[in-house]
C-alpha cells in the first residue's frame, strides 16, 4: 500500500505556517541570528539542532514573542508577528524547566490558559479531562507539581501547552531533564501526540539522536545561521558540509585532491597510496581540495583485501571500543591517519576475529562516502 509521503516543503503550492524573512537578532554587539530565511509548514515536526549558543533558543523565543526581531520579519499564518505580544499569539511553548506553577494543582495548571480565555466552565472541564487522558495523568489531577515525578511533570507541561489547541507548539529541550530510558519512551509519545493533535511542533534540542528520531525535518544551526535543512535521513546520508557531517553522528574525514573519473572522482589523499574513488552529484574542478566524509558503519573490516570493493586500504588496529551490540575499531593507516570502522558483534566476544595491533584491511563502496568542499 503506497502511503503519501509527508513533504510539504517539496510542494510549491503549500503555504508555510511560519516564515522567517531575513531575520536578524542582535543583543548589543552580539549577533545571535544573522539574516535567516526559513519556512516551516503545517503539521511539521521541525527540529532546531545545534551546540549551545548557536541561536536556536533565540529563534524559538522570537516565535513565542519573548524577544523582538532586530531586522526582518516573522510571519505566522501569513500575519506579521512584530508588535504582537506573547499573550496574543496562537502559539504555546513548553519550557525547558517546565515552568509549572508550583502553587497550582496539575488540573489547575492545565486549565490555566483556558481560564484566561474566559471559556465556560463545562468546556474547560471537558478540555482539561481530555488533556489528562491524552497524557495519562488522570490519577494525578489533584497533586501539586512537587508531588509528582520528573516524567509526570514533563507530561503536565506538555498537556498545559497543548490545552489551548495552539496552531504551533514550541518545545525548548523538552526531554533534557529526563534520564535516557524515559527520554526514548517520551520521544515516541511526543510523536504520537503530535500526530493525534495535528499541531505543528518546533523543537529545540542539542541532542542529535532526539532530533533524528522525532523530526520531519532537521535544521542544523551554527553561529546564528542555518547550515542545512533536510529530513533526518538526508542530513545523515548527504550532509552538505563537514560541520553537519561531524555534528550528526560519527564520521571519518579524509582530506584530499579531486580528479574527475567517469561518473565520480578519484581523490588522492596521501603520497604513494592508491587514491579513493567516490560517486557524487557535486562537481569539483580538477585539483580542487576536498574532504571525504565516511560513516564508521559503512567501513568494512577484513583480514584479507576484498576484491569487490571500490576502495580498500591497509592499517593497524590501535583501539577497540566495545559497546555491546557493536564494536568500533580505531585503525591507523600508514600515513598516520586514524579511521574508525564499526562492526556488529554478531558472534560472542571470545570468538572475535580481530584484536589489538592486528593488521587489517578497511574497505567501502564507491557510494558509501560523501565528497565535501573545503
Amino acid at each position: 500500500m503506497a502511503q503519501t509521503v509527508f513533504a510539504p516543503w517539496d510542494d510549491p503550492q503549500a503555504k508555510p505556517l511560519i516564515q522567517f524573512r531575513n531575520v536578524t537578532k542582535r543583543f548589543g554587539d552580539f549577533t545571535a541570528i544573522e539574516n535567516l530565511t526559513q519556512d516551516i509548514y503545517e503539521r511539521e515536526f521541525f527540529s532546531l539542532l545545534g551546540p549551545s549558543g548557536c541561536g536556536k533558543t533565540t529563534l524559538m523565543r522570537m516565535l513565542a514573542g519573548f524577544e523582538n526581531v532586530t531586522e526582518g520579519q516573522i510571519l505566522i499564518a501569513g500575519q506579521d508577528m512584530a508588535n504582537v505580544p506573547p499573550n496574543k499569539r496562537a502559539v504555546n511553548m513548553m519550557f525547558q524547566s517546565y515552568a509549572l506553577f508550583p502553587h497550582l494543582s496539575v488540573w489547575e495548571n492545565i486549565a490555566f490558559g483556558l481560564k484566561r480565555e474566559g471559556k465556560p466552565k463545562a468546556e474547560i472541564d471537558a478540555r482539561v479531562d481530555e488533556m489528562l487522558r491524552l497524557t495519562r495523568l488522570v490519577k494525578f489531577a489533584k497533586r501539586k507539581p512537587h508531588q509528582i515525578s520528573g516524567g509526570q511533570r514533563q507530561r503536565v507541561a506538555l498537556a498545559r501547552s497543548l490545552a489551548k489547541a495552539p496552531k504551533l507548539l514550541l518545545l525548548d529541550e523538552p526531554l533534557g531533564a529526563l534520564d535516557k530510558k524515559l527520554r526514548q519512551d517520551t520521544q515516541f509519545e511526543l510523536m504520537d501526540i503530535q500526530e493525534k493533535t495535528g499541531t505543528t511542533f518546533v523543537i529545540v534540542t542539542h541532542d542529535q539522536e532526539e532530533a533524528m528520531t522525532v523530526s520531519s525535518r532537521v535544521a542544523v544551526m551554527d553561529e546564528g545561521r542555518i547550515i542545512q535543512v533536510a529530513t533526518p535521513a538526508q542530513i545523515y546520508e548527504a550532509p552538505n558540509c563537514v560541520y553537519v557531517a561531524d555534528f550528526i553522528g560519527d564520521v571519518n574525514i579524509i582530506d584530499g585532491v579531486a580528479t574527475a573519473d567517469g561518473d565520480g572522482y578519484r581523490i588522492a589523499w596521501a603520497e604513494g597510496q592508491e587514491s579513493f574513488f567516490a560517486k557524487t552529484a557535486n562537481s569539483f574542478s580538477a585539483g580542487q581540495r576536498c574532504h571525504i566524509a565516511i560513516r564508521p558503519e559503512k567501513v568494512a573490516i577484513s583480514a584479507e583485501r576484498p576484491d569487490d570493493m571500490a576502495n580498500a586500504v591497509e592499517g593497524q588496529i590501535i583501539d577497540i571500543a566495545y559497546l555491546g551490540n557493536i564494536s568500533t575499531y580505531h585503525v591507523k593507516l600508514t600515513n598516520g591517519q586514524m579511521i574508525k570502522a564499526q562492526a556488529a558483534n554478531t558472534r560472542r566476544l571470545s570468538r572475535r576475529t580481530f584484536t589489538w595491533e592486528d593488521r587489517v584491511w578497511l574497505s567501502w563502496t564507491d557510494t558509501a562516502a560523501v565528497i565535501l568542499e573545503s
Binding site: 519550557f95 520528573g150 498545559r160
Partner: protein
Amino acid sequence: MRRFSWFNATSLTLGFAFLYLPMIILIIYSFNESRLVTVWAGFSTKWYGTLLQNESFLDAAWVTVQVAVASSTIATILGTMGAYVLVRGGRFMGRTVFSGMIYAPLVMPEVITGLSLLLLFIGIGLDRGIFTIVLAHTTFSMCFVSVVVSSRLVSFDKSLEEAALDLGCTPFDAFRLVTLPIIAPAVISGWLLAFTLSLDDLVIASFTAGPSATTLPIRIFSAVRLGVSPEINALSTIMIAIVTIGVITASIITKRNSLAQQRDEQAAARTA
C-alpha cells in the same frame, strides 16, 4: 551523641546570659509587690492592673498599632513594586543609581532621616500626627521590604512568568496570578519586618510625632525619664510575651510546611 565540653557549655551560658539576663530581670521585677523597682517585696500582679487603668499608655499603644499596620502595609506595597522593577526591569537608564538609592536608607542614621522628614513636613505645612508618623515609617521600612522581596525575586524562575504570558495572561495578570502567590512568603515576612520596625521605632517617631499622637516607645521613654516604674516593667513584659508568641508561631508554621513538603516529595519519589 557528642559530649558537651565544658568550653561549649560556658560559651553557651555566657552568650545566653548576655542576651537574656536583662529581660529576665525585667520580667521578674514586673511581678514585684514594691513600688521601688530594685527592691523585691514579694509576688504581685497589681502593676498589670494599674497599667490597664492608665489611659495615656493605652492610647499610645493604640496609636502605635494603627501606625504599624498602616505603615507596614503601604511599605510592603511600595517595597514590592520597587523590588519587582529593580529585579525584573532589565537594564534601564539609571538602574544602578536607583537600586543604590533604594538601599541607602538602610544605612542612613535614623536621626538624619527623622530630621529631614521633620523639615519636609514643616516645609509643606503638614500638621504632625498619626499621618506623618505613618509616612515616616513607610519611608524607612519600605527599603527593608524591598531587600527581602528582591532576594526572593532573584531566585524566582523567570520562565514561570513567561509561561503565564504564553498562556494568555496580560503582564498584570501574570504578576497577580503567578508571581505574587509564589513570592507571598517573602512579602509576608517583609510586612512583618516592617511592622516590627515600626512598633519599636523611637527616634524617627519622636521627630515626626505631634502633640495629638504619641507612640508607645515615645511614651515609655518619657515616662522612664521621670523614673522607672513597675508599670513600665509590666508593659514591657507584655510586649516581650507578644513578640515571643509571634516568633514561636511563625517558626512552627514554617517547620510544619517544610515537613509537609518533604513528605510530599518522598511520596512523589516512591510513585515515580
